[in-house]
Symmetry: C2
Subunit: 272 residues, 2 copies
DNA sequence: CGTCGTCTTGAACTGCGTCAAATTACGTGG
DNA sequence: CCACGTAATTTGACGCAGTTCAAGACGACG
């Protein structure tokens, strides 16, 4: 997710799995890295001045909705969120999930208005950081500027990962990718990367993977049968990580086979 | 694409269609808005100092590749680009297209290294803007800081659009969406939004839509037969825009039907 | 213990991927 | 200017993965 600087996330086929950061926020103090190294080598006190306050968000309550005014960033302290847009038929399209340490709100900077809705998947808590303060801090602390830009850029990389996931030809690959992505994020937060609880419903997963609830169910059944994982209700155990990775690679084969461009000029006819 | 501030792009089902900007870059002077209002109300001269130079990129040559060092942004002056990553099987996954006025390189900020490859679809030209200069300008000119952040945020919104496109259940919807997106972008550049040339191959389109070349071919044939468009070779004419929009909406119906959440607390069972 | 919602399972249908071959476009060299 | 070769694009036939519709199972809570 957008925890930064996401220490050199590798470009392999699998979502980034940065090491767990360990910078305690003086405000939060929780055991989660609630603001992952964004400020620590610089001026920690500066950050604390930036934080306007904390806010609790009940399960299923929204942090903000599409068309709400944007003037505040949120850093997830505890809990998880889903971000989604509503398509014409009022169907949710989950665009991403947020976990502790992630920064929420970048989408609003462009227009001053939020373009999507962010809803808590469980009882959660966030730090509020007014955009005005962030701007000021960026001006005053060059290092903070860098870190902040890096954070924003990292969310772009996350989006790319999601895009890659969505273009995997088989659902097996997508689901495997999704599980590894969760695993990596739990690792980043300092939890087990082989056993964790899903905060999201089957519907949310289906939406995120670009498929239906039923198919998600069947995917789970199949993965369980193959002993790659053990998913029961919302508990997940990863039993055979290698098998999951293999599922991504195998299914990725020749789709839109633009041949691997080792040289710069790939063979294609010029346009008249 | 990431031309900014993307004047309040609407949240409707269709990719953003900002109005055509009209700020001439003193350096480029081309009739395309090569740097869309990023600097104009502030200090135009400041920008010109920022631009290190221009660079020509031949068709099929790369602006940069994955793992190349990042230290420069590029603003597309003329031509078009595709950005893609290679999956394990060395297959291209097109993540986005760039058109004149778009800023390229945000992905590199997070790690200092590019995560994808950007290749010219036709003979092109870009302005080079060193990251160091941008940082300095952000520090010196608060308004520029705002604009730059807005630009970055806008690319995030673009990615969301792509994600939404990819989760449309039917290929018809995706392709319709793609055509409207191109149309909107040509409009933004001041060209006709009903007749234009595709810079990308069928393969690239297939990759962008998450499908195969063959299916793209069939989509085109079907759309032609329905007189929604007239696509011949790489020339596109949009004949019935309403029909295209309808194709998106119709196919968007109940997929992962999380009911429209008008109230904040949508009905779902608490987790034990 | 009954109701409600989520999740799972079943069966039938179909859109799209896959493989294969034909066709067209375009650049090259004669 | 024409003939040829390469690569892109189109078209056809077939099979399967995944959607759809429908019903049932499970767990939570009143």
């Amino acid at each position: 997710m957008n925890a930064i600087p996401r220490d050199r996330q590798e470009a392999a086929g699998v979502p980034g799995c940065g090491a767990a950061a360990d910078n305690r926020c003086a405000l939060c103090g929780g055991r989660e890295a609630c603001l992952p190294s964004l400020f620590h080598s610089d001026d920690n006190a500066a950050f604390e001045r930036m934080v306007a306050g904390k806010r609790r968000i009940e399960r299923h309550a929204s942090l903000f909705r599409a068309n709400d005014k944007f003037d505040t960033f949120y850093i997830v302290r505890v809990g998880q969120f889903k971000e989604f847009v509503l398509d014409p038929a009022s169907v949710q399209r989950v665009v991403r999930f947020y976990m502790p340490g992630d920064i929420v709100g970048f989408d609003g900077v462009a227009t001053g208005v939020h373009s999507s809705r962010v809803m808590a998947l469980e009882d959660s808590e966030v730090c509020e950081v007014p955009y005005a303060q962030v701007r000021k801090a960026m001006h005053d602390h060059p290092r903070f500027l860098d870190r902040f830009l890096a954070a924003m850029s990292a969310t772009l990389l996350d989006q790319h990962q999601h895009t890659r996931l969505l273009t995997l030809p088989s659902l097996d690959g997508r689901f495997a990718c999704f599980l590894l992505y969760l695993s990596a994020n739990y690792a980043r937060m300092g939890y087990s990367d082989t056993a964790f609880r899903l905060a999201m419903s089957r519907s949310d997963i289906g939406s995120y993977l670009g498929t239906t609830v039923e198919t998600v169910s069947r995917l789970i059944a199949r993965f369980n049968a193959q002993h790659a994982v053990r998913i029961e209700r919302r508990m997940v155990q990863i039993l055979d990580r290698a098998k999951l990775i293999a599922m991504i690679d195998n299914t990725a084969a020749d789709r839109c086979p633009v041949p691997a461009p080792t040289e710069d000029r790939q063979p294609e006819m010029p346009v008249h």
